[in-house]
């Protein structure tokens, strides 16, 4: 097997060649810049030791091949080492996978190393925990040592002979905690092999350690895997190991890390080898040891293999058969390929490919799905219940138990049946279609108590820790946890720890929604389990040695605090923050306070004094980190309680002020930050004093190169300056010059955070010292050549002007300002521009108002010029500017100029870029607005016909602006255009009713009203009523709104008859549409409905007794609006009649219907008074059936809240009821009259 060096070299050359093909494109066609260059990186001389490596590899591969009993299809693939070679080459040559960005990403891939520590946390076995919990008093913890980060005591191994350095791992790095070394008897063999093989990747899945006893892998010798090269590897397998993991004695470290293509891609190799077994061992016994395997497969590899398979399926050549299906068979001839054509030889791709490609004509293709599945090690047939569900490769391992078609649940013990049931539901929730998912979700939450907490959590929690988890999957699992928490209530108590271990890392997730979900779960958990359980569970973590655990624990405590209230947590916090034992505990305690302040905001105010007292000693702590976090916590508390609560901070003022003189660096920054937040709480005179005190240090730190310090300094300056006590003169003379010198430099504009800080702080300074001072300093910089810096100036000018106006700047500065802005406006690039120049210029013009007149001509000239520019962005900005300054032009009396602009814009309506066209339309609209319809240039009768075709444009911005403009014209100047044109527009508008943007639909609907007003309702109404027959719901709903609006604008009597006539059409959609528009109509016309109530009652009556549910629902809504509209008009007879028809519907169960019914009853209660409703209610309030009572009491409670005093006269008199006296004799002759009876 040993190859000569020469052979190796040749082999390498060949491999590299096909590796280039793997890179993904045909060099002959596209040229080969990237890969060729990359190829130069290769070392051409191969280290002879590599042959050793290769040999080892080959041995490994062969062993792997022998062990995994491959299915027939796998035998067609290449030898494993070639596949690996190809993968390695492709990884090297094409490091950026072109499809990478489109692949779904797992959470593990996206996390940084800090967040990934969450996956390392131990999920100790549920059962052991459960049992231990049962035997111990509540709150005691079994695996305390585990949580404290101490490795659990493992049974002593027999001393090894000195020649076998198996003990290396444990000395080199802390032994990783895994669930399987926390033990279970059934899995001892597995556990042993696992713990000896310390090569598992760090994100090994914590899984139930109770492996299926049948798992054959435990009897199998572990496959020696070439894993991470830097990990110490037991030399028992090292006999002929290759050089990189050879004993360090023979080779120096530099040699190991020497560049060569072998150690270049260790991960891929390792990954490939590791992954090879489960993949190739399709359907074989490997599947039965799912968790171990799964843990060992890195997520990238799983994804890569999935992607690979997918791509191969997609990219396989089209067969003749498929071509026949695509194209008609006659009329086409099959051409001979030209003689010069050589098919692309891509051995690598072919080797890696599954046998989907017809290599020889005789070979019979297996069907598509089978191929794809088998290559991934997947059984072909799914059980019937899971037929429709999409599967991912790792699902086959995680859910293996329920995927076997042949196993029947009935033969299993009850416990396992439940387990499978849960598994099936989880699978449906994870991968099912929305409907399947919904049903499964409901089932799992309904049956949660039946299943029990342990079986449920035992399955969900390990899945949540899986490294291949994607965001959506995590979300779905978390949702399940949330739902079952609700149902399980106090039953979750024994499992709090496990849930926390899984959920806590979500609190520091990058994703906002993940954090929200995490918070929600933990607060629900706290409410379900109670404070004592939560505290006793999380207590051991507060001085955990891992910072990650402490961080998440502090946050979890903060969530618990906000859920259960600060007062109940105060004693605990006091104890923790005063801990003498370890600074970690104090740190965590103070961090909890900080997080609580962030989370609860102003709600900390009532307990501020206690909270500050609890943490104040931390300022003088001997541990730097504690001082740092204390200062941060104080800053957050002060921020949360602003502008109140200064008296609570009294005890910390002295240490803080001493602190800023003592400390440097990070701690100083934190102390300054705290002071910065406390100063605004002070009384003005104190604030002034303290601000001056701190300013000397601030000015010193202006020059600090530290980024964090800069941010803090900016913030503190802003807060000091904003205090009312600080005098403007002091700021102007002492602070501002230095500030502008140090912060208004180009470098500050490059960093986003600094950019924002400088802009905000300068605004604050301007508010203190006036606009002209600040603008005077900045105006020159508007012509600066650095683009980001100019943008910073522009943004400041915009903010300052917007906030303070321009009344105090003189004409010279005004001229310089406009000049600078126009320069900046024209200098803005046509790419990567945020439009800051546009915004600044328009704000300045608006604020100048009349004073802008001299500059308008120049600006319009520039606009006209730029409307002609070839860059679309520039044209768009020019049009936007017109829109912004139109109002000022009117104020300045430049009507002629505006007319001119109108004509110019009209010329540009042929614009083809939709963004620009939208802006032009918007500009046009603002001109029409200020100039008035009558004076518009071009005249409306020319303009509108030009707009009609634009309505057909599908771009949202165009649609929106066009419809608003048309609506405006229809509203004010409908008479300029013929009714025929309006009808044409009506038809266009119907199309717009399906627009996805609500604003478009809204203005389309309103426009119907204007048009109907202009040309009379009959034509428009016919169009609309016909539109009720369409299929799409949105469109129908919008049509009903439009009908209601038409009815409102043209008076109901013009429209109601035809609507009621239309209701006679026996078609569901139409009738519902009519009812719906009736409901909207009553909502719109309110008390006017009194005139029509008798007319519509028979129709509503008919609808209320219809068989169709939606009929009744819509009619109920209509009755509700009607009743509210006509209250107090003396129409009780009709309403009682309608109520009689509404009432039988109270037992409907569909949420929409019952809501509508309740709203109708509420409306009637307002119009009829609560008394009559009570009469209805008394029939059922004490009904023997709970279901009946429930709804009656619901209605009664609503009425009671709304009008309890109104109910009093209507309560039945109970004096007729027999009253028993003390002697159990019935007194029926007692004379009793209440006061009320006397009055009545």
């Amino acid at each position: 097997m040993r190859k000569s060096a020469k052979e190796t070299e040749q082999g390498t050359a060949a491999r590299v060649a096909f590796g280039t093909e793997v890179a993904g494109f045909d060099e002959e066609l596209y040229g080969a810049p990237g890969p060729l260059r990359a190829r130069d990186d290769y070392v051409t001389s191969i280290n002879p030791q590599e042959s050793d490596a290769e040999k080892q590899k080959d041995d490994d591969v062969d062993a792997a091949f022998l062990q995994s009993k491959k299915p027939a299809s796998a035998s067609i693939t290449a030898p494993q080492y070639l596949i690996e070679e190809a993968a390695a080459a492709s990884a090297k040559l094409n490091p950026q996978d072109p499809f990478k960005q489109f692949m779904p990403k797992t959470i593990a891939e996206q996390q940084n190393s800090y967040l990934a520590r969450g996956l390392k946390r131990v999920l100790s076995p549920l059962r052991a925990q459960h049992a231990a919990d049962a035997s111990k008093p509540a709150g005691s913890r079994v695996e305390q040592n585990v949580a404290n980060g101490k490795p659990p005591a493992t049974p002593d191994k027999p001393p090894l002979p000195p020649s076998t350095p198996t003990a290396i791992p444990s000395t080199n790095r802390p032994k990783r905690k895994r669930r399987w070394d926390v033990v279970a008897d059934t899995a001892t063999t597995v556990t042993k092999t696992q713990s000896e093989d310390s090569n598992l990747p760090p994100n090994a899945v914590p899984v139930p350690d109770v492996l299926p006893p049948s798992a054959p892998s435990s009897t199998k010798p572990p496959i020696p895997k070439a894993t991470r090269w830097d990990a110490p590897i037991p030399t028992t397998t090292l006999g002929s190991r290759s050089r990189w993991d050879a004993t360090p004695g023979t080779m120096s470290m530099s040699q190991v890390t020497k560049k060569s293509r072998w150690d270049k891609t260790p991960m891929v190799q390792a990954a490939t080898t590791a992954g090879a077994t489960p993949i190739l061992g399709a359907g074989s016994s490997a599947v039965n040891t799912p968790f171990v395997q799964n843990g060992a497969v890195p997520p990238e590899l799983v994804n890569a293999s999935r992607w690979q398979a997918d791509i191969e399926m997609r990219n396989r050549p089209i067969t003749d058969q498929e071509l026949d299906e695509l194209l008609p068979s006659d009329g086409y001839t099959i051409l001979e390929p030209p003689t010069s054509y050589k098919p692309v030889q891509t051995p690598a791709r072919l080797l890696m490919k599954t046998p989907a490609v017809p290599q020889t004509p005789l070979y019979n293709l297996p069907t598509e799905s089978e191929v794809a599945r088998e290559t991934l090690g997947i059984p072909v047939e799914l059980p019937d219940t899971l037929k429709s569900i999409q599967m991912k490769p790792e699902d086959y391992k995680n859910f293996a138990k329920v995927l076997d078609k042949n196993s029947k649940d009935e033969d299993l013990p009850a416990e396992e049946q439940v387990e499978r049931k849960i598994m099936r539901l989880l699978l449906k929730i994870k991968n099912g279609t929305p409907n399947v998912r919904k049903v499964a979700m409901r089932q799992i939450s309904e049956k949660a108590r039946e299943f029990g907490a342990e079986p449920l959590l035992k399955q969900i929690l390990p899945l949540l820790m899986s490294p291949t988890l994607e965001h959506q999957e995590r979300h779905l699992y978390v949702k399940v946890v949330d739902r079952i928490l609700h149902k399980l209530g106090e039953l979750v108590r024994p499992h709090v720890r496990h849930i926390l271990v899984v959920i806590e890392p979500m609190l520091i997730d990058d994703d906002y929604y993940a954090r929200v979900e995490g918070r929600e779960i933990i607060s629900n958990l706290a409410k379900a389990a109670g404070l004592p359980t939560m505290i006793s569970t999380m207590r051991p973590d507060i001085d955990h040695q891992d910072e990650f655990v402490r961080n998440t624990t502090a946050r979890a405590f903060a969530v618990v605090t906000s859920a259960l209230g600060i007062p109940s947590m105060l004693p605990f916090l006091r104890a923790v923050c005063g801990s003498k034992k370890s600074w970690e505990a104090r740190h965590t305690g103070i961090k909890t306070v900080q997080q609580t302040a962030i989370l609860m905001g102003v709600a900390v105010l009532p307990h501020l004094k206690e909270l500050v007292e609890i943490i104040q000693s931390g300022l003088l702590d001997e541990q730097g980190k504690v001082r740092l976090i204390t200062a941060h916590a104080l800053a957050n508390l002060a921020e949360a309680s602003a502008p109140y609560g200064i008296e609570s901070f009294d005890p910390v003022l002295a240490p803080l002020w001493q602190g800023i003189r003592l400390h440097r660096g990070k701690t100083l920054a934190a102390f300054l930050k705290a002071i910065g937040f406390i100063i605004p709480l002070m009384d003005p005179e104190y604030a002034n004093h303290y601000a001056r005190e701190v300013n000397s240090i601030l000015i010193r730190e202006f020059k600090s190169p530290d980024e964090e310090m800069k941010t803090v300094v900016l913030k503190v300056v802003m807060q000091c300056v904003s205090c009312s006590g600080v005098e403007p003169r002091y700021v102007r003379e002492d602070l501002a010059p230095e500030y502008f010198r140090c912060f208004w430099i180009r470098r500050m504009a490059l960093d986003r955070r600094n950019f924002r800080g400088v802009v905000d702080t300068t605004l604050q300074i301007a508010m203190k010292i006036g606009v002209s001072d600040v603008l005077g300093r900045l105006v020159g910089d508007l012509k600066d050549e650095s683009d980001p810096y100019r943008r910073m100036v522009l943004e400041t000018v915009e903010n300052v002007t917007d906030k303070l106006g321009l009344s105090d700047i003189n004409s010279a500065l005004e001229a310089r300002l406009i000049d600078g802005l126009l320069f900046a406006f024209q200098a803005q690039g046509n790419y990567n521009d945020s439009g800051s120049a546009l915004r600044a210029l328009s704000v300045v013009i608006r604020k100048l108002d009349r004073r802008a007149k001299p500059y308008l001509n120049q600006i319009v000239g520039i606009i006209k010029w730029r409307l002609n520019n070839k860059s679309a962005k520039i044209r768009e900005h020019a049009a936007d500017l017109v829109c912004k300054i139109a109002e000022v032009m009117k104020v300045c009396g430049e009507d002629a100029l505006m007319g001119h602009m109108g004509t110019v814009l009209f010329e540009y309506l042929g614009e083809e870029f939709p963004d620009v066209l939208g802006s032009i339309l918007r500009a046009m609209k603002s001109i029409v607005e200020v100039i008035g319809i009558n004076d518009m240039q071009p005249p409306i009768n020319e303009l509108l016909p030009r707009l009609t075709p634009i309505l057909k444009n599908r771009h949202e911005k165009v649609q929106e602006n066009c419809i608003i403009l048309v609506g405006k014209i229809a509203n004010k100047g409908a008479h300029f255009v013929s009714p025929k044109e309006w009808m044409r527009i009506c038809f266009e508008l119907l199309e717009l009713l399906k627009a996805p943007i609500k604003a478009i639909r809204k203005s389309a609907v309103a426009t119907f009203g204007y048009i109907a007003k202009a040309i009379g309702p009959s034509n428009v109404l016919t169009t609309l009523l016909n539109n009720l027959k369409v299929q799409e719901r949105t469109q129908r709903v919008c049509t009903t709104v439009a009908i209601a609006i038409v009815a409102e604008t043209c008076q109901p009597y013009t429209v109601l008859p035809s609507m009621m006539n239309e209701y006679r059409i026996p078609e569901l959609h139409v009738q519902n549409g009519i009812l719906k528009s009736l409901s909207f109509l009553f909502e719109y016309i309110r008390d006017m409905a009194g005139d029509y109530i008798y007319a519509v009652t028979p129709m509503l009556e008919d609808a209320l007794i219809d068989r169709d549910l939606v009929h009744r629902q819509t009619a109920c809504t209509a009755v509700g609006h009607l009743a509210l509209g006509v209250r107090g008009l003396g129409l009780e007879d009709a309403l009682i009649h309608l109520l009689n028809h509404v009432w039988p519907n109270i037992f409907e169960t569909s949420p929409h219907v019952i809501n509508a019914v309740i709203s109708a009853i509420q409306g009637c209660a307002v119009a009829l008074g609560p008394g009559p409703i009570l009469m209805y209610l008394l029939q059922g309030l004490f009904h023997p059936a709970r279901k009946v009572r429930d709804v009656y009491w619901r209605i009664y409670n609503g009425i009671y809240i709304y009008a309890q005093e109104g109910l009093v006269p209507s309560y039945p008199s109970l004096s007729t009821v027999d009253i028993e006296n003390e002697d159990n004799e019935v007194e029926d002759d007692r004379y009793e009259r209440h006061e009320l009876f006397l009055i009545v």
């Binding site: 965001h471 959506q472 929604y513 949360a640 809204k1002 909502e1083």
Partner: protein, 107 residues
């Protein structure tokens, strides 16, 4: 909004003097029943819901607010304007589901 998304939870604490805001999308809607007409009573929210970064944000969806929030006339008649602060304090499942559904396809 809460009318169409029953899982949304309102704050319901004692309202203060601050009128809530609505974003561009929610503007013009009654905060209780989503009605688009007859906005009558200003919807006041509690101090905590106006605190910090919540200030000026839409009380229904959390976007940047552009207009004041109102109760419509019907909700005013039904005295639903007196039930406490109407700020939505949770993120509804519809929204979270959508976010993750989109995330699946986002790069």
């Amino acid at each position: 909004m809460s009318r169409h998304h029953p899982d949304l939870v309102m704050c319901r604490k004692q309202p203060g003097i601050v009128t809530g805001r609505l974003c561009e999308r929610c503007e013009g809607k009654c905060v209780i029943c989503d009605s688009l007409v007859s906005q009558t009573t200003p919807a006041r929210i509690c101090d905590e819901c106006n605190y910090g970064s919540f200030q000026g944000k839409c009380i229904v969806c959390g976007n940047q607010g552009v207009a004041d929030a109102y109760y419509c006339i019907e909700c005013t008649i039904l005295e639903k304007d007196r039930d406490g602060c109407p700020k939505i304090v949770n993120v509804g499942t519809a929204k979270i589901d959508l976010v993750y559904e989109k995330k699946k396809y986002k790069r």
